[in-house]
Symmetry: C2
Subunit: 334 residues, 2 copies
Amino acid sequence: MAPKTRPTYSVIAKTAGVSEATVSRVLNQDESVHPDRAKRVLEAVEKLGYKKNRVASALASGRTGLIAVVIDDDLSVFADPFYGTVTSGVSRVLMENGLQTVLMVSPVGSLEGSVAHYLESGEVDGAIFFALHSDVLVNKLKKQGLPLVITGTPHSTSDVAFVDTDNFGGAYTATKHLISQGCKKVAIITGDIGTTAAKQRLDGYLQVYRETGHVPAKGLICEGDYSFETGKALTEKLLATHPDVDGIFACNDLMAMGAITVLQDRGISVPEQVRVIGFDDSMIAQTSRPALSSIRQDVVALGEAAGSLMIAQLNGEDFEPVILPTELVLRGSA
Amino acid sequence: MAPKTRPTYSVIAKTAGVSEATVSRVLNQDESVHPDRAKRVLEAVEKLGYKKNRVASALASGRTGLIAVVIDDDLSVFADPFYGTVTSGVSRVLMENGLQTVLMVSPVGSLEGSVAHYLESGEVDGAIFFALHSDVLVNKLKKQGLPLVITGTPHSTSDVAFVDTDNFGGAYTATKHLISQGCKKVAIITGDIGTTAAKQRLDGYLQVYRETGHVPAKGLICEGDYSFETGKALTEKLLATHPDVDGIFACNDLMAMGAITVLQDRGISVPEQVRVIGFDDSMIAQTSRPALSSIRQDVVALGEAAGSLMIAQLNGEDFEPVILPTELVLRGSA
DNA sequence: TAAGCCTGTGAAAGCGGTTTCTTAGGGCGT
DNA sequence: ACGCCCTAAGAAACCGCTTTCACAGGCTTA
């Protein structure tokens, strides 16, 4: 239990017979130290089982080696594997660069929340945002010079680095596919319309209609929130107003499953009578029956891209927004 | 971009007309400061938009306010909502106590990996482990006096705090239920048998057999790894050796779904011919058709319990291992 | 051979808080 | 009134590492 006091530079320096400055140089791969001295230091480090105190190091250097991953939502969203997966991608890239990931899941809301305080307290070298509902905090932090990456497209145009999935394209492809399969009346169940991703998916859907010269009938556009229950509820409402609907594009797999559940409960067969396409190509899409056709986004790649963008910024390199392609994965439901 | 230099104690002290020591006292709720002076300090803080530098604070006080959540596996496990959910529970409790969560997902393996280095570098006040495959690092850290919590039962008996789900009881209940429904030949598809949780679930299953005086036929115990694909593969193998199996207890929902998929593909109806029960009661259990009966574990509560145990340790309070109950949720599959 | 340059190294000044040690008063007892 | 104890608040040491600055000594150049 005794919090054994760990050795410090002072001890290393003494055992190696050099100054603390030299110890620091060796431990930070400063090439200018004579190999012999460096060797002595390394031996002392080895012998004493020395581990650098990162906190002290951070204070002196101004670099903490921590990057915050901020998910602007309450913790329940973590039930959706999306965030876990994307975070894992981020984490991998950061680790390769000697950085650690600090996870924060909390509604960002105001400029005064605990997230805001934390990010401004100098404890992180940068922050990566997900599911951002507002840009105010981001803009403030940006002004303070904190390296930032946004996953998803920012609401306002600014010069913040961001990476996103091609939401528009994915939605376009899904909708187009439904129509090419003969669907005459395609509905959309959107995600949380407060996010840019949901808006872009809706745009992709509308674009298809636009090209056909039609306008989707009122009621075909159902505003959802990415949850299973909402998927069910909206589908029931949809069937009430448009019993002749023959295609549904749900903006995530969970809602798509909600739709399928309701359809099957009513004896409406999928895909014979109504075709359904989801978004995410999650595990659920693969395990469901019929297996769900879905727009795949490479979630790990998304996280990795976000991580890389952060690294680039920290190195002062140039960077461009990254938009990752999507792919339609056809299974039984459409 | 200009990394605007933030105010320090020195500035606050000057504007408030007090010493830095007093500033520190006020900002750390030391009661012994005269209300008038305290007010002056607070006003200065407010006026200057001061945010405490946590790194400096950590160095001086020896407390970083960070708790590591270590998941001993590669990042792919994050596709399983379990970890995200449990982490969110941990995070909530910690935040309420002014602590932040540092997430590390990496095979812990040796004592020399980056996780080990990080935990020994003094950057965290404590660590919470998940899916631990080995106890060596834990024991080492324990010796160094780092507060630790293990989620899941430790392999070796030691005095490390842990919280766990009643795996044994859950498995027992599931198996018992299958038999009470008339199943004569119940198979189990286990999880990664390297974890104690998987072993305990297997034990619960075996206990039911033991009580009936029988021994499960060879081949009824299928060693899995929690993945959908493995669930499918093992079920096929199972059907080959035991075509008359009439009950399957899968140690997670994903594998249960794999089993159901294979069964249905062969025209074997669930639950009429084979009853299936999963474990976790995840989203998949609710969305599948037939909906999957499953053993629910309160994952968020698990995380919260782990967080609370950590807090208790940090406060030097006593603590007991926590075992959370499970519940059988009956749906269509059994 | 003297002046000018590197180069490797040590001394020391931070980084921005926390905490111990000290001291100046104020209240109280006799 | 005098001495003692207690309290509020400042001075300064310190946490452990980084980084600037200065310096000695060896080399080059004229």
